[in-house]
């Protein structure tokens, strides 16, 4: 289910891997259309995908009764991606540092790190229930906008 308007896209989807793919694909199109180069588009797409995976897997835990909502907005200077779930909530401060020597061989815990690495701003908001991740990437300064 999508609702495109000028510079804004809203998706409300089931908690499935197909939804992750749909969100990923929409993010890639938006980043590419906004003028980001291939590498930046790849990074943005990967960050949004990781946020969607978090929402489906860790947030909603594939619960068919819970939805994942993605709201993408291009405000002219930045791309803003909001991905939210209806799960138990996530405390970002409780996440272990995946770069610490004792965590390097852990099989999990790198998703939020990748998101933070690839985006300019990352914010968490508790929804009670659920978590909303807001990812912001500033548009390249080319001196002219489409």
């Amino acid at each position: 289910m999508s609702e495109p308007t000028a510079g804004r896209l809203t998706l409300q989807l089931a908690s499935t891997m197909e939804s992750v793919s749909e969100i990923e694909s929409a993010a890639e199109k938006m980043a590419s259309a906004a003028g980001f180069d291939e590498d930046e588009t790849f990074h943005i797409t990967m960050a949004v995908r990781e946020a969607a995976v978090n929402a489906v897997l860790h947030g909603n835990e594939y619960d068919p009764a819970k939805k994942v909502t993605a709201i993408f907005e291009d405000d002219g200077t930045s791309l803003v991606f909001k991905v939210s779930d209806e799960g138990k909530g996530l405390d970002p401060d409780s996440l272990p540092d995946p770069l610490a020597a004792e965590n390097l061989l852990r099989g999990t815990g790198r998703g939020i790190f990748l998101i933070r690495s690839f985006m300019d701003e990352v914010n968490f908001r508790q929804l009670h229930p659920g978590t909303e991740l807001t990812l912001v990437k500033h548009r390249p300064q080319t001196g002219a906008s489409a």
Binding site: E50, L57, P98, L104, R110, G111, L114, S117
Partner: protein, 114 residues
Amino acid sequence: MALTIASREVDGVTVLDLGGRITLGEGSVQLREAIRDLISKGSKSILLNLSDVNYIDSSGLGELVSAFTTSKNQGASLKLLGLTKKVKDVLQLTKLYTVFDIYDDEASAIASYK
């Protein structure tokens, strides 16, 4: 788009030629099962050829780490060959580049097991 895995033997080394994406779900599961299968058959030298892997997510990274530790715990040696730029960048960012033995060419990788 899904992960493809083909196995071959080169001088006693089992080379897994991977292609596509290593991501949460099918790709990660396929890789996990392939490694388990090799370990159960007694393979001690495993080389993952990632030349045709164009995407890896955090789950895929976790699966590579698990493959590495599982192999090590079973007395096997797992190394990586032929990283694409995107995969290499992510491994460097997450410091996993320091964990694995990584080779650019197959001959050097095979020779490293001797």
